[in-house]
Amino acid sequence: MKEYMYLFRGGDGRELNQSPEQMQAHMQAWGVWMQALGKSGNFVTGLPLQSGGKVVENHGEVITDGPFAEGKELVGGYLIVKANDLDHAADLSKQCPIFERGGTVEVREIMPMDI
């Protein structure tokens, strides 16, 4: 098994004017999905990211608030999973609740140390 990273973009539903009830349901859907990954032994780790941030260029000569204007492009969190190959990893992401809110998942293999 290799390790893969999911990068979650968009899908926080800010533009949808969601009700508290809908937000709770969405959160629970995420919990259910991640728990299933945990039970099947595919879950490794993951964390959500705050919105906003800084982009540092040229040893700090240029520090900007970053190209974070578009909510859709903003990375909102990541997850590391174990999977057989890239297709398998992509397959495991299909049930992710982010798609209900128009977000995307970028699936990348983590480069192994012992090549």
Partner: protein
């Protein structure tokens, strides 16, 4: 390596929704009614953050405190951005840390919700806006949800809500539970709004039944909240709660599998929720202990007689008729009059009830009221005068706008047509 994700069901149903009302009330109390919209944005932000992070990291030990703290910090940030805030910020930062450490302010929060309830039902605001303010701020419903509950357009609700909030600010309404001579007057206004809210949810209309049940549940939740404040424990509150519990007990029996209305007579009484009936009885007894009879008390008492009867035929109609007699003296309105006519018919027979209806039922309001003709038709059918009954039910149908009720009446009519031919 982080832990395996936690059980997602670690928080109760509707936690977010109830938290909304609590935190918005609490922070609006703290930062003032003029900052209501800013507070709402902050709470929305806090809930969004909870949604994003709790699934990853698990539910925090004190989820209510977590949301309050995050929302509070967002308010502070927003106010700082508004510049004119600098003077006050130092003192507020102290408040910030004080409940960052331990959050055991349940009592205070309940009090904040109560104060907000009185503000939303302030007499300077009209009843419709009061209902919308209550549902939006305390109920934590979105515009779309309120629109579905009240059968209005989402846009209409959004505009009305903005108007309602403006009114709260313009009238200089502050968050407090009134004292002294104003208390009973203001409390009856609050109860009136809860009653209307409940009726909106309880009325038999087509559409999403679940969302309508949530309206009734909210009315009951807010009613129960009132009783947590000792000086608000009044007979009216108990009586209204009793009424709402009795009525709610029938929710599961009012529509059949095809979404058609089932009249009280034909409801499967096994489907009534007996735990709710018990709660209704408790509150009715508490209300009775005050020895004060009011409109809610009588309505609840009538509802109780129905709940006590194991069959429709076995209903104690004499007792119900007596209640309607008292109610009609307290408050004469066409709905009570017509319900009394039905009870009168059960006790004295259809012929006598028809006389009663024709003698006292010919005023202008009643003549435009579909239920009047439906009741007349039922009584005529009981006398087996089906031809006239059909005429009358047609009149009722032509006046009625409620789809489910119309379908119900058409069903009755077709039965009578069969009996003639």
């Amino acid at each position: 390596m982080s832990a395996i994700p936690q059980e997602p069901q670690a928080i109760v149903d509707q936690f977010f929704r109830h938290q909304w009302g609590r935190v918005v009330s609490h922070l609006t109390g703290k930062f003032g009614v003029p900052n209501l919209t800013l507070v709402e944005d902050a709470v929305q932000e806090a809930l969004t953050k909870a949604m994003q992070s709790w699934a990853f990291k698990g539910i925090p030990d004190n989820p209510a405190g977590w949301i309050t703290r995050v929302a509070h910090n967002h308010v502070i940030d927003a106010l700082r951005r508004k510049k004119n805030f600098e003077k006050k910020s130092a003192e507020l930062e102290q408040g910030e840390s004080s409940y960052a450490m331990d959050w055991d302010m349940d009592e205070e929060i309940k009090d904040d919700e109560l104060k907000m309830m009185f503000a939303c039902c302030h007499p300077a605001i009209n009843a419709e806006l009061q209902i919308i303010l209550t549902l939006k701020i305390l109920g934590g419903f979105s515009n779309a949800e309120v629109a579905r509950q009240l059968l209005k357009k989402e846009d209409t609700i959004a505009k009305a809500y903005t108007r309602g909030k403006k009114k709260l600010i313009d009238e200089g309404i502050t968050l407090e539970v009134p004292f002294g001579k104003y208390l009973s007057q203001r409390l009856s206004r609050v109860l009136r709004i809860l009653y209307l809210l409940f009726n909106e949810g309880y009325s038999v209309t087509a559409g999403d039944q679940l969302i309508k049940v949530s309206l009734c549940e909210e009315a009951i939740r807010l009613g129960s909240l009132i009783l947590e404040c000792k000086r608000l424990v009044k007979p009216d509150v108990h009586a209204l709660l009793a009424l709402m519990y009795f009525q709610s007990s029938r929710f599961g029996a009012r529509l059949d599998r095809n979404g058609r209305m089932v009249s009280l007579e034909h409801q499967d009484r096994m489907l009534w929720d007996h735990s709710l009936i018990e709660l209704g009885k408790e509150h009715l007894e508490l209300a009775a202990a005050f020895g004060h009879i009011n409109d809610y008390f009588i309505q609840a008492s009538i509802a109780r007689v129905h709940c006590d009867a194991s069959t429709y035929e076995g209903t104690n109609w004499r007792q119900i008729l007596m209640m309607y007699d008292i109610q009609l003296q307290l408050n004469s309105n066409p709905v009570i009059f017509l319900n009394r006519v039905i009870a009168y018919g059960k006790v004295h027979g259809a012929e006598a009830a028809l006389r009663e209806l024709r003698l006292n039922g010919s005023n202008k309001t009643l003549e435009k009221y579909p239920l009047r003709y439906a009741v007349e038709a039922e009584l005529l059918a009981e006398k087996e005068d089906y031809a006239t009954a059909i005429e009358k039910i047609e009149q009722a149908i032509s006046l009625n706008a409620n789809e489910l009720e119309v379908a119900f009446m058409k069903f009755k009519k077709s039965g009578w047509i069969e009996l003639i031919s």
